[in-house]
Subunit: 742 residues, 2 copies
């Protein structure tokens, strides 16, 4: 166990011995106080509040611009005020399209007109609120009316088009149909348009979240045949937030890009459909049978197409500017009012949005309520606490991004960390984010009890990892008590904080026992949630205890518990991965080129199926990693020294303490590069970004990794140097931390 002993009580120079109960970053006397505080906090957590709030917040559809959305913001703002927070509703005006008309039909001999309608079920009270529901659609699709043959493109990612090319299928001038999953949904129409497709249909295959996974709603939690996943297809990996105001806030009278100049709006019409509507379309396809990994769960033979009959897709949208309502509630820190610990979850949903997002929102509210109650009893946080409820996350992190862009300068000065959640269900605790917080979250998870087993949530997570592990590797991992946290891509409101500003961020949530197929449909309701996701809100309470405890520790720590040795070690792992990756790519490219050139593909193929050889690929050069290696050597040394200094019992005066803390929470910002990533300057973090062709999925050291993946050697080489420079800046920041001990 790793323990910092830091004494910071005025000029007292007493070195404390190691206490029985310690928390990293707390002097032992303060640790005892903190643990007592957390104990009180835990005792105050109520499931019935969460239930009451969820009932209200999900009572009607509450998407951006809806009556209920505004009412929800006001409801929460009132509560935060009652709890003693300095609360405001921060409004921004954003471009938010909604459908004016939708038509999808299969022409030809066996015509079919898609229903495009989810059916209300009597077991679900809110599923019949038709007048207020947003129809099923993909926000930021283009307007369009196209008629063409249909082609099935699997997940619709670049690798799928390589397969189609070998089969001899060109999607130019065609409409494509893709399965949900395997990438952020916006990747599918983007890549389709890059290949010349003129329309894109996305459907939920029953193998992914329908009957193949389990019984469908209302019998079970999975997607029924009419269920449709709504969602944004904005090109979020380029930049999130209001598409007409990249890099700056979309306040009332701000100058906006004309819609035709916006690069993140899709170029072709895109529509999500149910598997009931997909079945006749997929059945109409002829051509080769798809590869095994492309097959879904419908009772048909999946073919790549094209279809003999044509398909018509006609979509028109209302391109409205809507006002969104972020709730921002602050409780001033007593000692460090200009150090902000920020917590957020969004409040807008696609329809009634119980699981996504309200289940996370009500946990956050419970955290804020309890801290408010505690403060009425005399508790004062050392740092300022900021609780946020974001609007417009679903369309593309609109509320958080605009607020962050609005307050960027202040946030870069004051934000200590941003802790996000975005829904919650029964299961195992999960953390993703900055690896400087990895040990911190391990400690937090050790102090929260799992509702189902009574052990700590860290222990339960550990047990799950061991039981799921290959038995042969158990003996190697059974001693590793610390868990790794995930790297973050995108898909929630941490992105602007983390990847745009470099504020240490994390996403927290429970899951793994509440799977279902309600996502972004009318069935993500209170009724569904309390039957299948977290009956009794036991895990809502666990989330409140986990995130609330994290907030309180970051707020009250004598020395902020950032652990840069772990972050540096993690980055070193990514560098090793890149090197191994390019070496493997070289071997595989050479092997495949050899097999092509020497005729093995020609000999192996079945002449009754047209399958072209893969393309000969440019051979993979050796890149010069030396600048990055040298930078890593330096920062490894510095972070090791810093960590060992933090491990010692030591004495610092308040000024040095404040300097050290300032270094610790600003250091990660040095990993930004102001020019950002290639073709997407909004993303400035050189270690973490959403993948340009994955969307949600993270790419670590993205400038280099995506350069290699896209075989753009020059760009990869260039970014090795950019990343090395940012590592050297980061190293300098850490050196200032070391200097604080002198």
């Amino acid at each position: 166990m790793r323990i910092y002993i830091l004494v910071a009580v005025l000029f007292l120079t007493i070195t404390h011995s190691i206490a029985q109960e310690n928390i990293t970053g707390f002097a032992s006397m303060n640790a005892a106080k903190q643990l007592e505080l957390e104990k009180q906090f835990d005792l105050m957590v109520s499931t019935s509040n969460q239930d009451t709030w969820m009932k209200f917040l999900t009572s009607r559809p509450h998407h951006v611009g809806s009556v209920q959305g505004k009412a929800n913001a006001e409801y929460m703002a009132n509560l935060f005020k009652q709890w003693g927070y300095d609360t405001e509703i921060a409004m921004y005006d954003v471009l938010f399209p909604s459908p004016k008309s939708r038509l999808l039909e299969l022409l030809g001999d066996k015509p079919y007109k898609a229903k495009l309608e989810e059916t209300a079920v009597k077991e679900d009270k809110t599923s019949g609120q038709k007048a207020e529901q947003l129809p099923s659609y993909n926000a930021y699709s283009a307007d369009g009316d196209v008629t063409a043959e249909l082609v099935f493109v699997n997940r619709g990612v670049p690798a799928d088009y390589e397969v189609l090319e070998r089969i001899g299928i060109d999607v130019k001038g065609k409409i494509v149909i893709a399965k949900y999953g395997g990438s952020w949904r916006g990747i599918k129409p983007k890549v389709a348009a890059e290949h010349g497709a003129i329309g894109c249909i996305i459907y939920s295959d029953p193998k992914d979240d329908g009957y193949v996974e389990g019984d469908v709603y209302p019998k079970g939690p999975f997607r029924p045949q009419q269920g449709v996943q709504r969602g944004s297809v904005m090109d979020m990996p380029v930049y999130p937030g209001d598409p007409t105001t990249p890099d700056y806030a979309s306040t009332k009278d701000v100058k906006r890009l004309a819609r035709e100049d916006v690069k993140t709006i899709m170029k072709i019409p895109v529509l999500p459909i149910s598997y009931e509507d997909a079945l006749p379309l997929l059945t109409s396809l002829s051509g080769e049978v798809v590869p095994d990994s492309w097959k879904g769960g419908l009772p048909i033979t999946y073919h790549v197409g094209p279809s003999v009959a044509k398909v018509r897709l006609a979509l028109k949208f209302n391109w409205d500017i809507k006002t969104l309502y972020n709730v921002i509630a602050k409780m001033k820190g007593e000692k460090y009012p200009d150090e902000w610990v920020i917590r957020g979850n969004h409040h807008d949903g696609w329809v009634n949005g119980a699981s996504d997002p309200i289940s996370g929102m009500v946990a956050e509210m419970e955290e804020a309520r309890i801290i408010g109650e505690l403060s009425k009893k005399g508790f004062k946080p050392q740092r300022t606490l900021v609780f946020c409820a974001w609007d417009g996350e679903e369309p593309s992190l609109l509320g958080s991004t605009e607020w962050v862009e609005d307050h960027a300068v202040e946030l870069k000065q004051k934000a200590v960390a941003y802790l996000n959640s975005d829904g919650n269900s029964r299961g195992y605790v999960g953390f993703g984010g900055s690896h400087a917080l990895e040990l911190f979250f391990n400690e937090v998870a050790r102090d929260v009890k799992d509702p189902e087993t009574g052990v700590s949530v860290a222990e339960r997570r550990y047990a799950k990892m061991l039981v799921d592990a290959d038995r042969g590797s158990v003996s190697k991992i059974i001693g590793q008590k610390n868990f790794k946290i995930e790297a973050l891509g995108s898909g929630s409101d941490f992105s602007p904080f983390f990847q745009h500003l470099g504020i240490p961020s994390a996403n927290i949530g429970y899951g793994g026992e509440g799977d279902g197929g309600e996502y972004h449909s009318i069935y993500d309701s209170y009724d569904h949630f309390i039957r299948f996701k977290d009956p009794g809100f036991q895990y809502g309470s666990a989330l409140a205890k986990t995130a609330g405890r994290s907030m309180l520790r970051l707020a009250n720590a004598d020395v902020l518990p950032f652990d840069y040795a772990t972050l540096v070690n993690t980055i070193a792992g990514y560098v090793a991965e890149l090197k191994a990756g390019i070496d493997q790519m070289r071997v595989e490219t050479n092997a495949e080129n050899k097999l092509i050139k020497e005729g093995f593909f020609d000999l192996a193929k079945d002449p009754q199926h047209s399958l072209a050889n893969p393309q000969i690929k440019e051979s993979v050069p050796f890149l010069d990693f030396s600048k990055l290696d040298n930078a890593m050597t330096q920062v490894e040394a510095t972070s090791t020294v810093l960590t060992s200094l933090l491990h010692q019992s030591l004495v610092l005066d308040p000024i040095k303490m404040q300097l050290l803390n300032s270094v610790l929470f600003h250091a990660e910002q040095q990993l930004l590069d102001e020019k950002g990533l290639p073709r997407r300057p909004w993303y400035k973090h050189m270690i973490y970004a959403p993948g340009f062709y994955t969307g949600y999925g993270v790419k670590t050291i993205p400038g280099v990794r995506e350069g290699i993946e896209q075989r753009n050697w020059k760009e990869a080489q260039g970014y090795i140097e950019v990343v090395a420079a940012s590592i050297l800046n980061f190293n300098q920041a850490l050196q200032k931390g070391v200097a604080a001990f002198k």
Copy 2:
């Protein structure tokens, strides 16, 4: 390249130099003659003969005891006679049950009576021969009329019951429904009965050979919704052949076991059904959702059951003794008439049986025809050729087993090798069998041209292997010009020759481009075959060239081309596998026991799903492999010396030559142990056997391997010693080969 130079022309003592064209085992002068012979052979191969014969042989259903079955035997016998063979029809009387009545129904609220009927299709001329078709059934099912709840058991192998036990499902007193595949079908009712089930239904899931794989018949080759896989469920891994005459031939008036004393007949009623009939049954199941790997391709959520409604399965059979008709055609060897090279394929089918078995049968007939024609022009084989057409393979290798048991003593003296086929289609050449023949088949495959590409079938096979390989491993395998042949389990007529008598055997066939779902259904017809399996019989001709060339080389070789260094090397690989396997089992057992004992399973599980912990398993001891290791050391040395002697240019007198040949073709018989394998003494080969719980799938060094797998340490240890003794016997045989050179 590996070349034997052996001069054996009387007492001439001229050492020949290495010729341009060589064949292992042939003196160079003889090699040239042989190659000329093979060239003539190839030129005479006709596809139209195969087409004509297949049309006749598949014109009506030709199962054991059918009118057409007997007519086919007579048709072939006449042809063999015309071609100059000494031909007989060898008849045996065997127990062959066929259905008297079949009933399967789901009771309860939504009753369903299974159709149990395959639909004739107009595109298939023979599919409507209803009066002569055997109904869909499993031969050697028990009679029975049972009514019980239904449970889904996945593939119905022992591991599946471990999963069910954890889920809390006991099949005692229940009827089970299992998917085809994953084991020989007879394993499913055997294991079900071992667990107390009272009935067993087996169905063809569309994921395995129906619409998930491709378009269904008649549009494409795959199994339509009414298609049923017939087949035997006799406990063939105990012994094949007539169940009432284990170990001896079922000649006319032989004494037979009473039916109730036969151990290989199933104890419970078993019925195969279509996926159309399976759908209502599977839909009726409640209980937990099955694990992912159990899921099939029907548009339902697969549950383990039990069903709420009961299922009734009522089956009665005619337990008839039928006569079967093997055709045996001999051409006497000029030089070594008492050395027999044997070729076989079965002629009985479940229905019209075009792919299985006639596609292989007509290739064999074409081989025999050409050799007959050649002999009329003056060709004389050095050894005796025996061409066999087996009846009753489908029920359980009846014809071949009874004939082999009838002629066991003579075969052990005279049989040089047995070459089997059992159907054929477009694609890649495949060989399985004794590894003493591995290099021989590599040479044969290098000399046969692939019809689709014009390169050798060895090269095409090699190209396919490279293209399918993981790209990272290509550079390691690209130099390995020799391919490995497969080890053989069971499932065709090689079993009695190979595993009962120890005659070096192989199975030969092309495939990989003719996939379909016609297997054992009324759709395995001439019409299906010529559209989907091997249009134009190009691969029928390739099989004739491959097997025919193999026959001619074995018949004419100066020194038989058995390569025991490769066999020994392969056995050494199996020994290493066993040691690594038990070590891994020890590690995994310890790991799992630790996870159970320390409560990790309790912590990890979802309390809303009942999932018991796995059972604590006895820890895995260290076995004493020393006797086997010592035996392997000796035989490795001897086989290396023998191989190097065979590689040298050398001179042997005819007597020593004959001695050497006799040693070479009898050596593998030393790998038998007369007591046979545990609980199945019929299987005497200590290196190769069908798995007791896999059926078709091979278990190498089965006495030890299955002892370990079944955690019967004592038995495994005992068989290490038995195998070691057989290896020492084998070593002595090889030493006699070495001595022949002195």
